[in-house]
């Protein structure tokens, strides 16, 4: 690990100011930064410690929704009774993520910014070609071991999967990322790679996530996060789905539905086509299965990740049927 200078920011303003410097990085829980610094992927010259800043770790709830401070720990949000009641999918996405030790360290803001687990991104000495790390250098993943790579939102430049769980749930409920001076919807916050895989989010230099706001909704209250993987715990999703559902008064016709996929795309993948196919329909196993298949529109596999195209719609369908009370 390269030597770096360490700055303990005395305020959010000072942290933002320092973060304007090229080569500087904010440090919160450190679970991504330290990991990638050890891999030689992140080589900050200055680390700006914001862990102690006050007023950024709160969780507040009212009838309109929830506001979660960027420094709130994953574990604290997962266990928060109010979050669990109003946004079960959010709570579940956190409980099913990482390990208890990591959830006790990692923050919500940092969680959104976690980097991909693409093996080729993580080993620069052996695989120098990576557009995400070094724009213009190529993509080592194409033609390599691709079991965990994305099938949606990919480009010729990058097929790395967005690995997180929380952002998948947040995207379902139109959550908004508060950057201090401006706000961006979670859906817009994450970028597909296109020709610029090094740009992963809308975050600009000198900006800092201060909070996440999630508007309350009936769909959010009746929601779930379903994560499918080979290992029961402590593994990234082979495919996941955050789903929220609100019925009409008849208790069977869909008024509002939210469907977002994780583990299969280069960003949290809102499947609006699935949602549109089901709004106004009476929920049944058949309608759900047919609609869920739409989630894979435009999917492209790269060898070993082909199974995701088959798996993901099944995960979506199960999650919808679950919140619909049909399984």
């Amino acid at each position: 690990m390269r030597d770096f200078s360490y700055l303990r920011a005395s305020s959010a303003g000072e942290a933002r100011q320092a973060a304007l410097q090229a080569g500087s990085t904010l440090l919160a829980g450190g679970t991504t930064l330290l990991d990638l610094a050890k891999c030689g992927v992140m080589e900050p010259e200055t680390v700006i410690d914001i862990t102690h800043l006050s007023g950024l770790g709160g969780i507040t709830l009212d009838a309109g929704g929830a506001t979660i401070g960027a420094l709130a720990k994953m574990g604290a949000v997962a266990d928060h009774a109010g979050i669990r009641a109003a946004f079960p999918a959010v709570s579940e996405s956190l409980s099913l993520a990482a390990s208890a030790q990591l959830r006790n360290m990692a923050t919500i803001g940092g969680n959104l910014l976690q980097r991909t687990r693409c093996s080729y991104f993580r080993e620069p000495d052996v695989f120098p070609a990576c557009h995400k790390r070094n724009p213009g250098s190529g993509c080592s993943a194409l033609g390599g071991v691709t079991r965990n790579h994305a099938v949606l939102g990919t480009s010729d430049a990058c097929i790395a999967t967005y690995p997180g769980d929380l952002a998948v749930a947040l995207a379902a409920f139109d959550a908004v990322v508060d950057l201090g001076g401006r706000t961006v919807s979670v859906d817009d916050f994450f970028l597909t790679p296109g020709n610029t895989p090094e740009r992963e989010t809308a975050l600009q230099r000198g900006e800092m996530i201060t909070a996440i706001t999630i508007p309350a909704s009936a769909a959010a209250k009746n929601s779930t996060y379903l994560k499918v993987r080979d290992r029961q715990s402590y593994e990234f999703a082979a495919a996941s789905a955050a789903v929220g559902l609100e019925f009409e008064a008849d208790g069977k016709t869909v008024r509002d539905i939210r469907v977002v996929l994780g583990g299969v795309a280069t960003k949290p993948w809102r499947a609006r086509n699935v949602e549109q196919a089901l709004v106004g329909k009476v929920l049944s196993a058949e309608t759900v299965e047919a609609a869920s298949r739409l989630a894979m529109e435009g999917a492209v596999s790269h060898g070993a990740n082909h199974y995701k195209i088959e798996l993901a719609p099944r995960v979506v369908a199960r999650a919808i049927l679950k919140v619909g009370g049909l399984v």
Partner: protein, 762 residues
């Protein structure tokens, strides 16, 4: 030398062999009091880090270390240009080429991730950063990434692993029922919690090595031979190991590099492999494949087994992972043919990983047996019992003990096998398919000579001293129990000293041979020490027991007395005080009488004196039968093991609590092997791309169900002095096929290539 503070706790700490004493060192480990090899706080330590090749094959043309040498804190860079003046050490068989130079950082690149250079600096961070500044220029050569590579070829037949009797091909052709399948297992790794590494220090031409070791004497020999110094000048210290699983039985190149750097710098050096380096600096289990054909009668009597297997090896050494190891001995079989090949690929030479050979072999034959059972429409339990081997058909010898029938029947009873519904996909719970499967396992009894010292101290305590290793399996504890039983004292009156090559010689903690071997020596030495004490007590004029007229003494309840209450009884300390003795020290070994010093050295530092399972008049093995229940999501293909019952014949259990722990540990590794573990190799450059614990998956607690283990063994005094057979490895053998068979029963899909990941079932 680490002195274990004795402790008495647990529910049956009576200190006798067979008691359920909890681990002597357990408290130290859970409180952080146990010092591991990389934790010794030496003054003036320098830190070494390895630099690895990023190509799979070729030659190092040059190493540009200029920038690294100029980096802060850097003390030294070692490259293939440095002749360290080392000589090749003996192999495990004690064979050693004459004066052959040894290059732990070779110029020839044989695999991706091979150590090419090393950087030593004032801090580990400085060494790591400087290592990234080293620029290596290669001349690349074509490579073979795996044995599935078309360029790999068929490999070479291992003649010593070719077996056959009867006329297998003819009997197969004539058999009315036949099945055939190809079974494969991927590269698997040890993934011990504690990484490999060492702390090393020279004093003149004396070297002290703190290194996790499954064999302190054998590894000390390597250091002495590399550096051309007398064996006595090496001291290898290893009181605790954070997991070995077969990987820590030999000194490795990184040890030579660190020791050389330490000598050259005149400073102690610490070298720890990074987690990714733990995937390439030594070999895991080789990838295997095997084709099995079985012929049977319509009522399920086996007629022939034809087995053809292969495993990957490196381009510079032949290490066979014997796919035919369990195949010939599990069942009664009159016509048998087996052959195994090794296929050289550009990978580090594979190594021993829990249950080598037997493990992938059992995956093949035990999967094939269930395929046959379903083809016959027969209960797989019935098929196994019907073909029970009354003797070893390979060696022709009778079993010493073989309670596999009891393992199958008692395991089935405990599991509730009789409630099974035969048809695949016939048991479900909503969207969850449920399946049951059986897998049998075996592991040979190996025996090696060992040595132990007993000291009876004036304070009444008894010390047992051995260079044997405790890597968590319970050596400290069972040695104390054995000595306590001989002297009739509580186990907390015994002190155990282990894990130091300066101490008496011992079998390796490998091949499941340590407990049976070392306890023979400990028991012999303890008995001799007790006899010595009896002689003194009956004859010494200062002894209060001299005039009892007894011709022997009893040792019970912490007291020494004449039989039938003739006279006084004394504690050991009272007796020692009366005799005016400070200590009685006895050294014994289990070599034949009159073994020379040279033979003793050879016995402790090589494998030449190890006895195989059929070298005597019997065929001796541990046995087990696993019963697994899986739950498979029919949409997602995810497999969860929900229940395991395993019944074992490992002879007498010296400490059932510790044995059960080893069995469970093996079963848990088997769950990982069945469902999760696989080294993923990029075919373009031979690199293992999931060489970390985030991507190479082993079971978490959530993946481990309730595991019920049952002992059906009886003492086997042919297998060892105290009647036990090996327990460490047999537990993993047969788990993967039990799970694969359960997955078939649940889903109707036969997965013949491990691991059984979800995409194979959707």
């Amino acid at each position: 030398m680490t002195i274990m503070e004795p402790r008495k706790h647990g529910d049956a700490s009576d200190g006798t062999v067979g008691g359920r004493q909890t681990r002597f060192e357990g408290n130290l480990k859970v409180t952080g009091g146990a010092t591991y090899a990389l934790e010794y706080p030496l003054e003036d330590l320098a830190y070494a880090i390895l630099v690895q090749s990023t190509i799979p094959a070729g030659r190092v043309i040059s190493v540009d270390a200029e920038k690294a040498l100029a980096a802060p804190g850097v003390l030294m860079v070692l490259t293939p240009d440095d002749d360290m003046g080392l000589l090749v050490a003996s192999d495990w068989g004690g064979n050693r080429p004459d004066n052959q130079p040894y290059y732990p950082l070779p110029r020839q690149v044989q695999y991706n991730g091979q150590s090419i250079a090393a950087v030593v600096a004032e801090s580990r961070e400085q060494a790591v950063e400087a290592a990234r500044l080293i620029c290596i220029t290669y001349e690349k050569a074509p490579h073979v990434a795996s044995f599935n590579d078309t360029a790999a070829g068929e490999g070479k037949v291992m003649d010593n692993l070719t077996a056959g009797w009867g006329d297998a091909e003819a009997a197969l052709a004539a058999a009315p029922v036949q099945i055939e399948g190809e079974y494969s297992t991927p590269r698997e790794y040890h993934v011990a919690m504690e990484p490999h590494g060492l702390t090393v220090k020279w004093d003149g031409d004396q070297i002290t090595v703190w290194e996790p070791s499954q064999w302190s004497h054998g590894m000390a020999r390597s250091y002495s031979e590399w550096f051309g110094i007398p064996y006595e000048n090496v001291r290898l210290i290893s009181p605790f190991i954070g997991g070995g699983f077969g990987s820590k039985g030999a000194a490795l190149a990184h040890g030579a590099v660190a020791a050389f750097a330490s000598r050259k710098l005149g400073r102690p050096v610490k070298l720890a492999l990074t987690r990714p380096q733990n995937f390439t600096n030594y070999g895991g289990r080789a990838a295997t494949r095997q084709r099995i054909k079985i012929g049977a009668t319509e009522d399920g009597i086996l007629q022939a087994i034809v087995h053809r297997g292969a495993s990957e090896t490196s381009t510079y050494a032949d290490w066979p992972e014997q796919t035919g190891a369990a195949t010939p001995i599990l069942y009664r079989i009159e016509n048998f043919s087996s052959q195994h090949r090794v296929v050289p690929v550009n990978a580090v030479t594979p190594g021993a990983l829990r249950g080598p050979g037997k493990n992938p072999s059992a995956f093949g034959i035990e999967s094939a047996m269930e395929e046959l059972a379903y083809k016959l429409g027969m209960d797989p339990l019935e098929l196994r019992l019907k073909n029970y081997a009354d003797h070893d058909y390979q060696s022709g010898k009778p079993w010493s003990t073989r309670r596999l029938r009891e393992a199958l029947t008692e395991g089935a009873e405990a599991f509730g096998w009789s409630r099974r519904s035969h048809e695949p996909r016939s048991m479900r719970d909503g969207k969850t398919l449920i399946g049951w499967g059986i897998g049998c396992g075996t592991f040979p009894v190996l025996q090696a000579p060992s040595e132990a010292m007993i000291r009876i101290l004036r304070n009444g305590r008894v010390e047992v001293v051995s260079g044997a290793i405790d890597m968590g399996q319970g050596t400290y504890t069972i040695l104390a129990q054995t000595v306590a039983e001989v002297f009739g004292i509580p186990a907390d009156q015994v002190e155990v000293h282990l894990g130091d090559s300066r101490l008496p010689g011992s079998a390796i903690a490998g091949g499941s041979m340590l407990a049976g071997s070392i306890l023979g020596a400990v028991h012999k030495a303890a008995t001799a020490a007790r006899d010595e004490l009896i002689g003194l007590a009956l004859n010494d004029e200062k002894s209060p027991l001299r005039d009892t007229g007894a011709n022997t003494l009893t040792f019970s309840g912490g007291r020494v007395a004449a039989p039938r209450d003739q006279g006084p009884s004394l504690t050991l300390s009272e007796l020692m005080a009366a005799l005016g003795r400070d200590e009685i020290e006895i050294l014994r070994n289990t070599l034949p009488e009159g073994a020379t010093a040279q033979e003793q050295h050879q016995a402790w530092t090589s494998m030449v004196k190890v006895q195989g399972p059929t070298m005597g008049e019997y065929s001796m093995h541990s046995w087990c039968a696993h019963f697994a229940e899986v739950r498979v999501d029919e949409d997602f293909g995810t497999v969860r093991v929900s229940r395991i019952v395993s019944a074992f014949d490992c002879g007498r259990l010296y400490n059932p609590r510790l044995v059960e722990s080893q069995w469970r540990g093996g079963i848990i590794m088997g769950i990982g092997q069945a469902l999760l573990e696989e080294g993923l190799v990029d075919q373009r450059n031979g690199r293992t791309v999931n060489s970390n614990m985030g991507d190479y998956l082993v079971p978490t607690n959530a993946d481990v169900p309730h595991i019920e283990v049952i002992s059906v063994g009886i003492p086997d005094y042919g297998a060892s002095a105290l009647g036990g057979k090996g327990v460490g490895e047999v537990g993993i053998v047969g788990v993967a096929p039990a799970i694969a068979n359960a997955v078939f029963h649940a889903t109707g899909k036969r997965v013949r290539d491990l691991p059984i990941t979800l995409e194979k079932l959707i």
